[in-house]
Amino acid sequence: MTAPNAKPLIKSKFFVVFVPYLWLFLFFLAPFLIVLKISLSQTAIAMPPYLPTFDFSEGIGAAFSELKELSLDNYAFLFSDSLYIKSYLSSLQIALISTALLLAIGYPIAYGMARSPKAWRPTLVMLVILPFWTSFLIRVYAWIGILSREGLLNTFLVWTGLIDTPLTILSTNIAVYIGIVYSYLPFMVLPLYAALEKMDESLLEAASDLGCPPLKTFWVVTFPLSLPGVVAGCFLVFIPAVGEFVIPDLLGGSSTLMIGKTLWAEFFSNRDWPLASSVAVILLMILVIPIVFFQNAQQRQQERDS
């Protein structure tokens, strides 16, 4: 490259890196630090409803003395009230079971897609992606009409004579599982499909030529090779499922405890911002391990591809 070209390149390079970096720093990272700070504050009847507020206009000294007002009271409260611990545990449980269900349901679909005639595959992939483009809220809403007591499913089952009295599915955890599996299915199918589609089919032929029965071939050859897809899919559904709000709120009942719902109620109904912040901080601490793991997997994938 010639010398006159080098200079503007460096400048534009700096610009390309700097602008998104600054944006994410300001609107993604900095807010977390604020959440952390507010989680250590006290609730107050004011606007904003917490103390201290760190008003730097009063000088650094005044702000510094307010530092002493920070406390771990909110965290102590979280651990003393069983509601929160139960919410965390039940969120993890619901997310874990949903992830297992998604893997069990998504794998055969992805496998079938990867083994379909090559000409069909782009269309099938688009058909999986299409529901993901349509509104999440609407897709969850669609299930209310199906699962409610006077809903389509009950009407249909009574009509066929399979049941006499309508089943109660809506407002139970079963409805939450159905909602999560339904909404997150594309996130599970696509990474699985990507891994299965790349697989070299001659490996399967080799196994069968050597007398390996099909089912064993699957467990010895296919499944291990699709593992990156399995890992990506599981993280992609598990992490957001733990903090899910819309699905438990609309499909679950009052007995459905999920931390996203608890945080929402703490924030919007009780207007306890510091407590809501500490709920968020603990949730983030629970999720930080899987998030870092997911991120590393993504980065490795990217480095492999390039």
């Binding site: 900095a30 809403y141 009409g145």
Partner: protein, 273 residues
């Protein structure tokens, strides 16, 4: 070796797609139900669409959502493309790990956390909440999705074309706009559409970051849904589904045709002596 899909594969794919599509199809059909009860079919009618068009609150919310979506998707596409270029093209630089972390983490971050943290930021800096705060929030999370989409295209990018242009004396800035941008354009368009639909769709983050006068369509739908299923909401949903479906199918057909044309051009170029 057996050729063609086995029965098991056909059945699992068919059942999978039935599961994905049946609820949406039922929702669309029942938006044309003339009765109020969702499970009892009372004949075809378009009266819920008429009711929807006459609902001023709903129309206002749709207008807010459209504006937020267009603006946030456009800014997010520019920033996301820059982030993708940074991730793919720049080897090591200070804070690279932090940067890639900030790009990937929002993809899986629970929405309640993102929403809460952004709201607390806006309160802390005393920023009036409303249209602009929702837009900033949407830019922030959708730029990461754009970055991932564009990045996957950049990874498979053949850099010899850029090198050829620069060897012929094309300045880097111009090279980007003449060579690089046209090639990654399908991914950028896909990224924009993804950002737009994410914005159109978002309830949780908008609920946290909004203020008076900036109620979005999902927020209106949500407050109506909490009171139960109504055919009017089915009608709104059907319109949204139709818009998104037409957009996605049209975009994929266009990119398919462009890809075919590009391949033909490459073949022709290759065949030339």
């Amino acid at each position: 070796m057996k050729k063609g899909p086995s029965l098991f594969n056909v059945v699992s794919v068919t059942l999978g797609f039935a599961f994905l599509y049946l609820p949406i199809i039922l929702l669309v059909i029942y938006s044309f139900n003339s009765g109020r009860n969702v499970a009892i079919w009372a004949g075809w009618s378009t009266k819920w669409y008429v009711a929807m068009v006459q609902n001023q609150q709903l129309l206002d919310a749709a207008w807010v959502t459209l504006r937020v979506g267009l603006l946030s998707a456009t800014v997010a596409t520019v920033l996301g493309t820059m982030a993708a270029l940074t991730l793919v093209r720049h080897g090591r630089f200070m804070g690279r790990t932090l940067f890639s972390g900030m790009v990937y983490a929002p993809l899986v971050m629970p929405e309640v956390i993102t929403g809460l943290s952004l709201l607390l930021l806006f309160v802390a800096i005393n920023f009036d909440r409303g249209f602009w705060t929702v837009t900033i929030a949407h830019i922030t999370f959708s730029l990461c999705f754009v970055a991932v989409v564009v990045q996957s295209r950049l990874v498979t990018f053949d850099r010899s074309m850029e090198e050829a242009a620069m060897d012929l004396g094309c300045p880097p800035f111009k090279t980007f706009f003449v060579i690089t941008l046209p090639i990654i354009l399908p991914a950028i368009i896909a990224g924009w559409m993804l950002a737009f639909t994410l914005s159109l769709d978002d309830l949780v983050i908008a609920s946290f970051t909004t203020g008076p006068g900036a109620t979005t369509l999902p927020m209106r739908i949500y407050s109506a849904v909490r009171l139960g299923v109504t055919p009017e909401i089915n009608a709104v949903s059907t319109v949204l589904i139709a818009v998104v479906t037409v957009g996605v199918v049209a975009a994929s057909l266009i990119t398919k045709r462009q890809e075919a044309e590009r391949q033909r051009a490459e073949r022709l170029a290759g065949a030339a002596p």
